[in-house]
Symmetry: C2
Subunit: 375 residues, 2 copies
Amino acid sequence: MNGPVAGIADEIVMKLDEAMAASGLDALLATSPENVAWVSGAAPPSQKTVRSRLAAAILPRGGNGEVVAIALEGPVVRTQSRLPELRLYEEFVEDPVLVFADSLARRGLGDAAIGVEETHLSHADYEKLARALPDARLVRADERFEELRMVKTPAEIALIRDIGAAADRIAKEVFEHFGAGSTEREIANFVAERYAEAGGDGLTMLVVGSGPRSAAVNAPPTGRALELGDVLRLDIIGTKGRYHSDVARTAVVGAPTDEVRRVYDLLVGVHHRCLEALRPGALTSDVYAIYRAAMDDAGLPPYHFVGHGLGITLHEGPFVNALTEIRLEEGMVLCIEPLTLLEGRFGVQIEDELLITVDGYEPFSEVGDLPRMAG
Amino acid sequence: MNGPVAGIADEIVMKLDEAMAASGLDALLATSPENVAWVSGAAPPSQKTVRSRLAAAILPRGGNGEVVAIALEGPVVRTQSRLPELRLYEEFVEDPVLVFADSLARRGLGDAAIGVEETHLSHADYEKLARALPDARLVRADERFEELRMVKTPAEIALIRDIGAAADRIAKEVFEHFGAGSTEREIANFVAERYAEAGGDGLTMLVVGSGPRSAAVNAPPTGRALELGDVLRLDIIGTKGRYHSDVARTAVVGAPTDEVRRVYDLLVGVHHRCLEALRPGALTSDVYAIYRAAMDDAGLPPYHFVGHGLGITLHEGPFVNALTEIRLEEGMVLCIEPLTLLEGRFGVQIEDELLITVDGYEPFSEVGDLPRMAG
């Protein structure tokens, strides 16, 4: 668990305040784990695992926000939250939605325009909230949150850069320390330990896929031992201080076959061309088109996206696929990850994190030549 | 990933068919991860991590059900699902809720009474479904699912017993293999390996709390090394074939202090008395009262529940707390877990799994005398 990070709160609260003013909202009620964490810094551990253990960040226009969380996790939430108020509810005794309504009413927001998350709040909870605040106007704020979260604040950028650079270093160490005979699980344990040493909260979805498993979309580590000639695909996904890392590398045990070499070099080239296209004003669908054309030319199976925003959630805007047209802006943080999976044989993925800058991008991690592990 | 288990589907589908007949429903649309898994056996990995990647199990009265899942995870879902039909949707191209509606309409259920999960479906998705099926009647089925899931089928019982007994064995091995100087993370790695060997899908929330950390509610493993005199609290929570294990043990490194000995023996006694009260017809609130009175008499901090049902989810009905009055029935599977956390000092928890039988209970795991680890 990490404590509050100075600077983030003010920047985000300020941004939300401006957005409320622009859209005529009096308050925001964030309830999704990502927006509670983004607005307040708090991440009550069980809100993701037990659906009834709702949490909220309440932000009235003009500031002075409040986190509402389950009493059990009060001590953790207290150290995490950057908002001035904390209200705890007793599981089974109090209904969290009615506690949210009561907090809003007590703040004189019983008849206000309140931004809510319609794609997160369940239908039952939405109806309960509406009944408890009959004079309030509930306004869908989902897209507003998504948009505002795309451009990161300087403090957010520093956090993502820090754990992204650590993931890059850890991948390099894996390729130096392990080789034929090592198991995927041994590699996973090593990554987990190094990630914790780097201050990470934990790995949320680690991919360690060797041999034919390198071509599986989700390949959690198994007891499989690496063999000479294996391709190893490693994707280090975890969080530190609520922000994600997502760096993927592909290596080979011993010497690569001509085919592996060719596919790897092709993807490194595609990766480079995608990166070169990044700058404020560029369209995400145009970046996807570069990847897609290269895969089609080479007769390799393409993936349905080649990148995504990175932050409090693993996949967030801007999405880099054929169907989403988002203009890049300075301050966005993205992963660019050209990938091809040759089912039953091998998969290659190269994924780096970067920041959109005023005239291009700044990498947080940087891929090199095909790493070789001891045979 | 585990494949389908023979026998489960028919029993559960039959139960749901009877429930639909009794409540006048023509079909069920399960969308929560737990009910999709319960009805169909399918657990598309990313439905829990990416909220927009919805999945559903559609069950018309009379059988012939269907799973709807994201195309990316088609290969996994195909091996897991016990329902005859599988429909896949393309992320970003198709809206999963509109795909559910289309599947229902194609089955002639466009004007039917359809049971939905109002506490799971988001408000936005519920409204979208209602608009797509303007002649259908959407009926809240949440409580119905919960009730039906409480009494397990024989095949479900066999699955839970199997992984629960494995968790019990693994805890014993931990206390034999580790001692002063071992780190919590070493213990966690050992548990993860043994759990995988037992066929487990993975640990979803492992507690390894040593010394003062044994008193923290959620204590994921850290690099802390065990010291002489430490209390160690271990809670082995994971899944195998979609069903949970939840067995907690408390041990001491070297010899216990008089206080630790006294608190441990007291909790073992409370645990025994709670178990003795279990039989069909007993009220869960009466079982909680046994624990609560003992803690109050001893001046120890009580927890707000002493047990819960166990199955596809970690915490499900019947809840054993002061406020929930559920009459136990044959076939329910519960955890009974008397617990006291002396903040900053030590915590003791004893948690066993059991089945309610016709005249009492059958344990899946059984606690013994205070385990001592090498000093």
